[in-house]
Symmetry: C2
Subunit: 360 residues, 2 copies
């Protein structure tokens, strides 16, 4: 008598005339007498039994779920990451929980803290900024975390980062070497890590090229398409007269390209455009957009792999006595190498080629 819901091991046990222990053993492939196996499997099939994953999680202490948290899935970079992460984690039998933080700091922190509710076994986090609170919360995280982005040295958390300083430098150097002199820079917010780093690379490349930076050529607002369009219009209205524009991501770059088109400027002849992230957008537009591949896919894969490693390294937790016993291994830091992909939007004259950036 147990039709009060979906079939359970108890239902099967009753129908097969064995104990629930035997049912569990058969279902998990542990040894049993052929006769028992037969009866249990038959009963399970007849009842259409599906094991209750929640109960399994409770018993086993792991949910086979991972969380990926980023600010907005609308950004192609995160889409690329999700795809890779999904592929890697799925192969390992994990489900993927998606969490958009909308770049709200409080929300990012809450995600990390929510590791404590045991809903997922681990977390991949893409913070847009790193506050002292981040460091604090990350250090005290209840489970393994891998951060995609830059993290201060002391924080005992794995991280996968792009060398966006070098990436920006590659892009701008490319423009300089193509003979461009008035290279504008359309950036996102300066108080974000990417915003700051990309600017460093921009300035460095200008210096190396012997070009004096002109503050009139810089714009920094947000990371969206509309922002790029407005920024370039604004630059042109202000008479900054750039002959090239480097944008801190592809969305900004497409916005800038639109503005250029609207002004009747030919790309790349009158205005070269280079973006960053080498997202699908770069290949989809016209002319195809030169862009710096910061390895979004690679970072996604790497982060997922690191997380899985942590998970297999941690059969039980906190062997040490102190409440702050150091984590199993030292925090790992991986940096992916940027790669400039030259396409028509910045072609000096020749067809598209690619140049490699150095590893770090």
């Amino acid at each position: 008598m147990s039709d009060g819901g979906p079939p359970t091991v108890v239902s099967i046990a009753e129908r097969a005339g064995v104990s629930i222990a035997s049912v569990s053993r058969v279902l998990n492939g542990v040894g049993a007498r052929p006769e028992t196996v037969r009866r249990v499997e038959r009963a399970a099939a007849e009842l259409g039994y599906v094991p209750n994953a929640v109960a399994q999680s409770l018993k086993g202490g792991r949910t086979k779920q991972l969380t990926f948290a980023m600010q907005d899935i609308g950004n192609p970079v995160y889409v690329a990451m999700v795809r890779q992460i999904q592929a890697v984690t799925r192969a390992a039998g994990y489900r993927l929980l998606l969490h958009s933080t909308d770049a709200v700091i409080e929300d990012e922190l809450a995600v990390v803290r929510s590791l404590g509710d045991r809903t997922s076994d681990g977390l991949i986090l893409c913070p847009i900024r790193i506050t002292p609170e981040h460091v604090e919360v990350l250090t005290a995280a209840a489970g393994p975390v891998v951060v995609i982005g830059s993290l201060p040295r002391g924080v005992p958390v794995d991280a996968v980062q792009a060398d966006s300083v070098l990436g920006a430098r590659l892009a701008v150097t490319h423009l300089v070497e193509s003979g461009r002199r008035r290279i504008a820079f359309v950036n996102g917010p300066l108080d974000t890590v990417p915003g700051h780093n990309r600017r460093q690379g921009y300035l460095k490349a200008l210096a190396e090229g012997g070009i004096v930076p002109d503050p009139e050529l810089e714009r920094a607002t947000s990371f969206g398409l509309g922002a790029g369009r407005e920024a370039l219009h604004d630059l042109l209205d202000a008479g900054a007269a750039p002959d090239a524009v480097f944008c801190a991501n592809d969305q900004l770059a497409l916005g800038a390209a639109q503005a250029a088109h609207e002004r009747g400027l030919r790309i790349p002849e009158e205005m070269a455009v280079v973006g960053m992230d080498d997202s699908d957008l770069a290949r989809a537009c016209w002319p195809p957009l030169s862009s710096v591949d910061l390895g979004s896919e690679e970072r996604g894969r790497a982060a997922a792999r690191m997380l899985l490693e942590r998970l297999s390294d941690t059969p039980d937790e906190r062997p040490g006595p102190g409440p702050e016993a150091p984590r199993a291994g030292a925090a790992r830091r991986v940096t992916t190498a940027p790669r400039l992909v030259v396409r028509a939007s910045s072609a000096p004259s020749a067809p598209a080629t690619t140049a490699r950036g150095g590893a770090r």
Copy 2:
């Protein structure tokens, strides 16, 4: 004595000197003596207690998780849907589980069946094809499902669909009315529901416009960017000489636009291009792409809302005796209205080549 892991109600009970029942009651805001409340809350705070969501799920019978399954998150349409779904479900306190099926039928079916493992409380599914097996599995689903896409009449499952026949018709009629006569059609696979329906709309619009369909003008391969590019090149190579091309989605359209550019054809003067889905891509490219908004966002929202409704309507399941008691309410079908968005890529008279064509 219980430092063998994260704090639990037991730890708190010990520290506060009360029973676990009282702890639970205080934590859930049920009545208790002020003194008890104080002590429990203090202990919980000191221990940094976070309730174990898995245990709560097991007890409560619901996980507060929902699953969204589509073929590939790389498609902007699904990104738009995820965003909306995420927003709606999050507001209701649900987490979102993402599942890419890669358009593998077996995988789609597995997702539906996996509702039985109680990992998530409900499912939103975007099937690319509907097989008899789909119907069977969906009918027997262990929890509420909402399908985004077309579903045969008899299937007792909620569905949100786009009227893509009408959508395609709008696009093609628009081209006809703009004076185009040789309107090519670049489609995805014909044996998919969208592929089939869009073709119906295309043919219908041609008929209404008094144009005899020319099989030479049709191409159907896959739904990707590269496919669009190749298709148009192929059409031109074959001497089909179209003066417009309607594409079954924006990615195909951008591919076709690339091909046109590569051939030196001016858009829209020599070749009008219209896409479908009105994804971010349509706004990001140049010239901006005319496209039919099939309401991806709206469908995402609607699906999420319907699912949540089902969940609140179903306090306990299967009240009836029979194993196939009909579901609570009849299956609901919602259809969103398509909307043609005309942009420069199909502008009848050509304002967009020089000077500021678009809105500023």
